[in-house]
Symmetry: C2
Subunit: 179 residues, 2 copies
């Protein structure tokens, strides 16, 4: 008898509170690009590949430490690639076991991490771009230097990495705010 | 009799739909820094003052057009100051007539504008910082140049302007997402 009317039973109160806590997760639509979706995994891999490419291209120019902005680009690319590959593993795990990783605490962590790494990466890309343009256009020193292509490639890859992390950050922030 | 049970009346449906549309505006808390609050106005004025200072300091160095990044900083500072002063006037209007300017359409516009101007300003600040550090630390050319302080001041002001626009952008984006 009591099974047919669970709502009037005081012992059924905890599930009700739980249900009131759950709607956010149910309401959150599965937009591609969010953590735990194939789109999110693709974004993470794109970030990782472009950050590693920027890192590799810049490190191949052995004298990169002579310019502060290029050393900073290398540091930002290392941080970005470590962050992106970690999140990619979390996405793979979430996809394999079909579990949602979008609980508020994880989302806050992802959002803050994405915000920090994207800001650092964008700053590094802009500083490198400023110097590359200074050398190439303003000083017109590229005709006698072999390394301009290196700087340009590394800068472009850093920007691509930032373009890939932007949707991740905005989608995470959006899901966090619309909980 | 029908007044005591309005929910069963079909004519009562429109107010219900209206009520379902309204809660977002009611739920949106008046966090300082959002458009139409004194904090928001203070942020806009801080953005405006620092962008105009960056602009003035950079333009005072007459040869700024010889470096692409510095020309870009001037352009970004012009855009930023125009945007911030416009939004400051909107905030003043909202405060004077005590009207909320946080309808979804205005919030989208503010968020997109803040996002674009903050990205441009940050990019300009980072590019200028890269070049300033290159001249000052890497080439150690500051001892024989008088303009290093100019570049440093303009760059610092551009960063301050970006620091002031970040909360505006994040708060607008948050209110937009949590509607």
């Amino acid at each position: 008898m009591s099974v047919s009317r669970p709502a009037v039973h005081p012992v059924e109160a905890p599930p009700l509170t739980d249900a009131a806590e759950n709607p956010p997760r149910v309401r959150m639509k599965d937009i591609q690009g969010m953590p735990g979706t194939p789109g999110g995994l693709a974004l993470r891999l794109a970030q990782f590949v472009s950050a590693v490419t920027a890192l590799g291209v810049m490190v191949a120019y052995t004298d990169f430490t002579s310019v502060t902005a290029f050393s900073y680009l290398v540091a930002a690319a290392v941080l970005q690639s470590l962050w992106s590959i970690s999140l990619a593993f979390i996405d793979i795990y979430a996809l394999l076991v079909k579990r949602s990783v979008r609980n508020p605490r994880a989302l806050s962590l992802f959002t803050i991490g994405d915000g920090i790494t994207s800001t650092l990466m964008f700053a590094a890309a802009c500083a490198s771009a400023g110097i590359t343009v200074l050398i190439g256009n303003d000083l017109e020193a590229c005709h006698r230097r072999q390394y301009c292509a290196t700087f340009e490639t590394a800068t472009a890859m850093a920007f691509i990495s930032w373009f890939a992390i932007c949707p991740s950050f905005l989608l995470n922030f959006w899901s966090l705010a619309s909980r």
